[in-house]
Point group: C2
């Protein structure tokens, strides 16, 4: 109906950066929009909805990769619901695992902290770098947060 909006307009409407919109397009999350004679992108009103969809899916913990998968299914005309449901289940499992790891980690932290509080405050030991960490029993499974592959 309406004439469509430029990129800054939709970006502001959804609360993202213009570069982000272009980035999503490059990743295949948004279809290539029509252009003016000067090459400006013209967005249909659905685009804001699609962007909000992406943001909501992100907020639910989906990666852009997963979101693209959902949208690809959608573009093929099938309902993405089964696909989304499967992803949701996987995600839930991952969250459970992560929480378990976090609980282990917290227990470890608390033990270490408790030990450190009743450790003698020695000025400096030549052999050990730090008794608190030194005594650590077995390095339990690493947390894999920042990004680490081995």
């Amino acid at each position: 109906m309406s004439t469509g909006a430029f990129i800054g307009h939709v970006a502001q409407a959804v609360g993202v950066n213009v570069q982000t919109v272009r980035y999503y397009e490059r990743l295949g999350l948004l279809p290539r929009p029509e252009r003016t004679a000067a090459g400006y992108r013209i967005y249909a009103p659905e685009t804001t909805a699609r962007l909000r969809f992406i943001k909501r899916a992100q907020a639910l913990g989906f990666s852009l990769e997963e979101i693209r998968e959902i949208l690809r299914v959608e573009y093929e005309g099938r309902s993405p619901c089964e696909c989304v449901q499967r992803l949701l289940e996987e995600k839930l499992e991952r969250v459970e695992r992560e929480m378990a790891a976090l609980r282990r980690f917290r227990r470890e932290l608390r033990k270490t902290l408790a030990r450190s509080q009743k450790l003698p405050r020695l000025p400096h030991s030549a052999s050990a770098i730090c008794p608190i960490i030194e005594i650590q029993p077995s390095p339990h499974k690493k947390k894999r947060k920042g990004g680490e592959k081995r």
Copy 2:
């Protein structure tokens, strides 16, 4: 006592890559070792202990930045215990916050999943991309996992 080992030896002993050892040296986590006439690094036996210390601290959730801080304190001759203890407390707080976020996220996931299971399996709706995600009430606080700054 013994003559010291080359980089591949210590790397294998600790189970890390040789590049990683050099990387740690570049970051200032390891002191510059002596060299042979040919320029090969010669590591004192303490180096493996130091590397294991780094790995253990990482397993406890410290970043390399934090570990360097600990080691810097240690190099200055002070005991790093107070410093470590402070870092441990901070870390514990962060873990608590993260677990709370994860619990919220899990609740959200479960709600969404439950709703999706009693949603009509419509073939394809033109207006909505996916009813499961579409209906999402309010995009709760994002998880900040991969890295995101806004």
